[in-house]
């Protein structure tokens, strides 16, 4: 018995060995692939359209997508725990509606922003609590959250509400000059600050490491005595908060509130996170990867705009194809690494 099993285990051990090297590289591979893809697309664009190769085109990717970057940050937390949040697009729309309505009634912009952030966080908290305490699929709970938030938008108004308040219009037009005649918007600074904060939280706090641990093996995390419950709920609060911030940023960008705004934006956010290298099963991924994911989506749009002859729906088709390609890529890596 002992001899045979010893031999047997030796043999098993040998077959396990070659897997190791793959695993080490595989950790960063999807994110690096995304970065490579982005650079390649930029290079191709520069080859096709001479004006593509400019700093401002690159910076516009950020300016036009601040809200998506912030959404992707919140979504990265959620997906890292192995969950999903489908409500973010609707919460963005709700935030815009609430902000536009209250501003129209003459509220102080600071009070409006605080209230919007509170609404977003509270919705996230409610969904997180339901997901945890009733042990229901995040997919279903956040789907319900999505309908609720979108429904509330229609209750507020069916029509588009313009924003004319001074602070918001100021933010819409503000430009922060950079050397070389380049500029960014204040929203970009805020979005990048949020990314930096998220990076710090994920990699340098116990909360962040618990997020990864839950995604790796929730049962183990529980048995290790980690605060699984609190962390899981907080992740949805963060996502709700990020959605509200994104709603404010989108208001700066579009200067209106409209019930039908941000339709399907939750899917863009999920796509950006997945293309950025985060595994949908949780536990592996980087918030910086999600930012690159957003940039890839942005550059696809820029391409279509430069071309001028293609329908803008091609953006969706290309994003769909990329998403599929990256999920297949992930599958390939996870399968090889067993």
């Amino acid at each position: 018995m002992s001899l045979s099993s010893t031999l047997a285990r030796r043999a098993a051990g040998k077959t396990a060995a070659p897997r190791r090297q793959l695993r080490g590289n595989a950790r960063y591979a999807p994110t690096l692939a995304t970065l490579g893809l982005f650079l390649a697309m930029f290079a191709v664009g520069a080859g096709m359209y001479p004006s593509f190769l400019s700093g401002q085109v690159f910076l516009n990717l950020f300016i036009d997508n601040t809200f998506l970057i912030v959404l992707a940050v919140g979504m990265t937390f959620v997906i890292l725990t192995g969950g999903i949040d489908l409500s973010v697009g609707a919460v963005v729309a709700l935030s815009m509606m609430v902000a536009a309505t209250l501003l129209q009634q003459g509220w102080n912009p600071a009070a409006v922003i605080i209230l919007v952030l509170l609404i977003g966080s509270t919705l996230g908290l409610a969904m997180g609590l339901i997901i945890h305490y009733f042990d229901i699929q995040p997919f279903i709970v956040t789907l319900a959250g999505m309908f609720l938030a979108r429904g509330l938008c229609y209750v507020i108004s069916l029509d588009s509400i313009p924003v004319t308040e001074g602070f918001f219009t100021g933010m819409a037009q503000a430009q922060i000059p950079l050397p070389g005649e380049l500029f960014i918007s204040p929203g970009v600074v805020l979005a990048l600050a949020i990314v930096a904060a998220a990076f710090f939280v994920l990699h340098h706090t116990r909360f962040g490491r618990t997020v990864y641990a839950i995604g790796g093996n929730e049962n183990s995390a529980m048995l290790m005595g980690l605060p699984v419950r609190t962390t899981k709920v907080l992740v949805y609060v963060l996502s709700g908060l990020c959605s509200a911030i994104a709603g404010i940023l989108f208001s700066f960008y579009s200067l209106s509130g409209y019930s039908l705004a941000a339709q399907g934006m939750e899917l863009d956010a999920i796509a950006a996170v997945v293309i950025g290298g985060t595994l949908l099963t949780g536990g592996t991924g980087y918030v910086l990867g999600s930012v690159v994911g957003v940039l890839v989506l942005g550059i696809v749009q820029t391409f279509i705009a430069y071309d001028g002859t293609l329908s803008s729906w091609w953006t969706k088709i290309v994003i769909g194809a990329l998403l599929l390609a990256f999920i297949l890529l992930q599958r390939l890596f996870t399968r090889k690494t067993g």
Binding site: L7, R206, L223, M224
Partner: protein, 507 residues
């Protein structure tokens, strides 16, 4: 021993699940600086006792005291805070994180609110060095290490908190001899430091090698507490299974081969040059009705792969399969089942037992599926059949309404077997049917294989334990490096002979 206060004392502990009394008034004491083995068959209540102590289950009645202080654990974190650390059979760490993160997760040293990664590295190095694991890179991913090293890392995690009690639940079930020796070195080192260690294992020899005392459970009740050196192996086994020594001796002899060897006539199943790219190649086997063919070989030699080809779980891309003399393509499990082939895979958790249904429902599902959905099985027939299988396979508790998930691993295995048997297969493929189950249940399954073959069923028996393969099989096919290398008629063949065949040709 009475003048010392036990580190852990559990008194009159009871835990029940619907239909099952998992623990019934059990007492347990654990002292500082001892290795204490918790012994019992599957379903005796070992896992439940451990889960009560680690806060995974809450107790229905009884008291738990740690160092004289009464505790009620409602969550694993509370048990850990009281100084109790557990290393489970399936390593409960996070494979996606690094070694150092796993060792310190939740307790990372911090500076100004941020994790101090430098201190994490230093601390992990210290702990690993204490356990003589200097060769493990703290920054490497946990999943890059073997199960053995992962288990030691899990122990390192409990060393890091200065645990007073370390619970090791089947820590050696996937380790080789050298790794076991290393683990035992660490256990002794911790024991000498005053840690109280609770050790659970199915390997009797290991229990005798490492433990100082043992507590024996049977059917959720306490049998007794003994000094290891005072209790012989035979009397331990008789206490575990509750039978007298003579009965035991008989059990041990029972599975000896008595059937006449078949071999003539048309085999039920025959393969020629069967293979699959990247899996196994050139497999020729034949199994006659009433015959047990054993597959012997090392783990990873290709035994399971062959079983999967025969069952259609993987598609063969070369060779052919003949069933009762006529060539058949088996492209899917469905096709295999239509040919009356049944396959109990080694992974019983994923095998399709439905945990939330009762023993009866699980069996009836299989029966109903084989009869077709249109013809309902009368309740009386159901009851009779279920009772028959519960008795034939000695499923415990013998309660058809007990939920599957509340049964022990060995009993789940029996239900799984029963599920296939109700479909009356002509070929039964058993892949590691006795892994992780105790001696009593093991003998029962071996006897059952004998009986099924005597009734005319063909059986393909796969096991890592050569003794078992030889005890059960008429012929043994030796698998090595993903191909069949020899076939031996099992008359007076010894384990050494088979080992020689496996070892042969490696030079």
């Amino acid at each position: 021993m009475n003048e010392i206060v036990p580190v852990v004392e559990m008194t009159d502990i009871s835990i029940g699940f619907p239909g099952v009394k998992a623990l019934d008034g059990v007492g347990f004491r654990l002292f500082q600086g001892e290795v204490h083995a918790l012994m019992g068959e599957n379903g005796a209540g070992k896992s439940t006792l451990i889960k009560a102590l680690t806060g995974v289950y809450t107790i229905d009645s009884g008291t738990i005291t740690v160092l004289g202080e009464t505790k009620r654990f409602a969550a694993p974190a509370e048990s850990q805070a009281a100084g109790i650390s557990t290393v489970y059979q399936e390593v409960n760490l996070c494979p996606n994180l690094t070694v150092e993160e796993n060792v310190l997760l939740g307790r990372e040293p911090r500076r100004l609110g941020a994790i101090d990664w430098k201190a994490v590295r230093t601390r992990t190095r210290e702990v690993l060095a204490e356990l003589h694991l200097e060769h493990v890179d703290p920054g490497s991913l946990l999943s890059s290490h073997s199960i053995a090293v992962q288990q030691l890392i899990a122990i390192a995690r409990s060393v890091e908190v200065n645990a007073k009690v370390l619970i090791l639940d089947e820590p050696t079930s996937s380790l080789d001899a050298g790794e076991v020796a290393q683990l035992f070195g660490v256990i002794r080192q911790l024991r000498d430091r005053g840690v109280a260690i609770l050790f659970v294992s199915h390997f009797l020899e290991q229990v005798y090698e490492i433990s100082d005392r043992m507590t024996v459970l049977r059917n959720g009740k306490l049998v007794g507490e003994y000094l290891t050196r005072d209790l012989s192996r035979m009397s331990l086994i008789s206490k575990m299974i509750g039978k007298e020594l003579e009965a035991l001796a008989e059990l041990d002899e029972a599975p000896a081969r008595t059937r006449a060897r078949s071999g003539d006539g048309i085999p039920f199943l025959e393969t020629q040059g069967l293979g699959r790219k990247g899996s196994v190649a050139n497999v020729d086997v034949s199994i006659h009705p009433g015959e047990v063919l054993g597959l012997a070989g090392l783990l990873g030699a290709g035994r399971t792969e062959i079983a999967r080809l025969l069952f259609g779980a993987d598609k063969a891309d070369e060779g052919l399969i003949r069933i009762k003399g006529s060539e058949q393509k088996i492209r899917s499990p469905r096709a295999a089942i239509d040919q009356r082939i049944a396959f109990c895979s080694e992974d019983r958790k994923k095998e399709g037992l439905i945990g939330d249904l009762s023993v009866r429902d699980n069996l009836v599902l299989a029966m109903q599926a084989s009869r077709g959905w249109a013809r309902r099985i009368p309740r009386r027939t159901q009851d009779e059949l279920v009772a028959e299988y519960i008795e034939a396979l000695d499923i415990r508790p013998a309660n058809p309404d007990a939920l599957i998930r509340n049964l022990s691993g060995g009993n789940q295995q029996k239900v799984l077997l029963a599920r296939w048997l109700v479909t009356h297969p002509e070929l039964l493929i058993l892949d590691e049917p006795t892994r992780g189950i105790d001696i009593g249940a093991k003998t029962q399954i071996q006897k059952l294989v004998n009986r099924l073959a005597a009734e005319g069923m063909s059986v393909l028996f796969i096991s890592s334990e050569l003794e078992e393969v030889l005890r059960v099989s008429d012929r043994v096919a030796v698998i090595k490096d993903r191909a069949k290398v020899a076939e031996i008629n099992n008359d007076g063949v010894s384990v050494e002979d088979v080992m020689a065949v496996i070892a042969g040709g490696t030079q």
